[in-house]
Amino acid sequence: MTVVNATSLQQALEALHDHPGARLVQGGTDLMVEVNFNRTTLHDVVALRRVNELKRWHIAEDSQTIRLGAGIPYAEMERSPLCHHLPALAQAARTVGSPQIRAAGSLGGNLGTCSPAGDGLPVLSALDATVHLQSLDASRDLSIHEFMLGVKKNARQPNEVIVAVTLPVLNGFQGYAKVGTRNAMVISAASVCVVHDALGGTIRVALGAVAPTVVRTREAEAWLASQTNLAAPLTVTPELAREFGRRAAAECSPIDDHRSTASYRRHAIAVLVERLLLRANDHGKSPR
């Protein structure tokens, strides 16, 4: 077993090239659980913890997009200034594990593991993120919808590093909510991200932990757009929000497992979508 502690992206890519099939580790919060419980066999490991290129972020010159390095810890997404640019991501980051986990865990790890319950993934889906992958001799960009393939399956090739994601900087409400068996330190039984693109006139909803991978509720989104004008400000009635939640929940395919039941998950999705849409509706309006 070889462990390479890369100090630059180039070194990490060379190490992956030299050790085909090596496991990439950023914060270790997923991989080490597998290792500690003998659920995985480790051969070679390329550690990305010291690769500073993966911990940077910047806003594009036209202010339309923000690019986040895949190694940025959740703790940084929760805080200013990132939380102002990406409020739903900040809320999702805030629900990940404990402070200790959030100091280590990253979006790169969330994407690499690609669990249906990964807390960052519904946000990336609702924002139509672009995932940037790099190998020693090539780089490519994939839509988040092409990247996530199934339960812990993604489109990353063994010689590629997930280097960054690019997200739009939008004007409008962004919210994330999840339920689990308790309030803190919990893996989602169901999670929802709702994004309002006030200029584009769309509401985008992504659901976590209720299908083999994150679900975008495109039929419900199109239905809502046919019912009301989604260019700001929103005028969503409680009845419309309830029906939207019901329709969004119809688009997922939850299962019974040790964390929850299919029927509870579907119910939770309907409630969370309704709730977040009502929050979007109230967003920016003075309290009555």
């Binding site: 077993m1 070889t2 462990v3 390479v4 502690n5 580790v25 914060g27 270790g28 919060t29 991989l31 080490m32 659980v33 290792v35 500690n36 419980f37 480790l42 490991v45 550690a47 913890r49 010291r50 810890p73 703790a75 594990g97 404990s98 402070p99 200790q100 986990i101 100091a103 280590a104 803190a184 330190m185």
Partner: protein, 162 residues
């Protein structure tokens, strides 16, 4: 690195780790190879915070750090908090406030509380609860743990005011 020697800097001292499997967690290496059993292992999946150490300025679960990837890191364990062998102010506050029951969560909490107070000398109740939300007390003695943290905070404030 296969059964190679690697070096870890723990509490300011460089240690050699020999004949270790490279996938071992930092928790395991601290306890079983470096003779530093103050850091406790319990869940080994990042749920409980018993194994909290400070690594490069961040409180992390040592059970989720692959030790061989921490070669360049500055690691502080509960053993490294006191400079003179006497209890630290936080440790003394835990004793005085009755913040220790079975004691299993205590080392992780002590590390987490030092980390909190070093960054934020005046945490309010919410900041305290947030900072130790990753440290589970199985005896559920949180009331006295919060009181211990407040006591340490107030003592530091009083010292600074002098």
């Amino acid at each position: 690195m296969s059964n190679e020697i690697y070096r870890l800097t723990v509490n300011g001292i460089e240690h050699e780790v020999k004949d270790a499997w490279a996938g071992e967690s930092l928790l395991y290496v601290l306890r079983e190879r470096l003779g530093l059993p103050g850091t406790k292992g319990a869940c080994e999946q990042g749920e409980c915070g018993s194994c909290t150490v400070v690594m490069d300025g961040e409180a992390v679960c040592s059970c989720l750090v692959m030790a061989a990837t921490a070669v360049d890191a500055d690691i502080t364990t509960v053993e490294g908090l006191s400079l003179d062998g006497e209890p630290t102010d936080v440790q003394q506050s835990f004793v005085e406030a009755g913040g220790v029951q079975c004691g299993f969560c205590t080392p992780g909490l002590i590390v987490a509380v030092h980390h909190l107070l070093d960054r934020n000398p005046s945490p309010d109740e919410l900041a305290i609860k947030e900072a130790i939300s990753g440290n589970i007390c199985r005896c559920t003695g949180y009331g006295r743990i919060f009181a211990a943290v407040e006591r340490a905070r107030d003592q530091r404030r009083a010292m600074q005011a002098k």
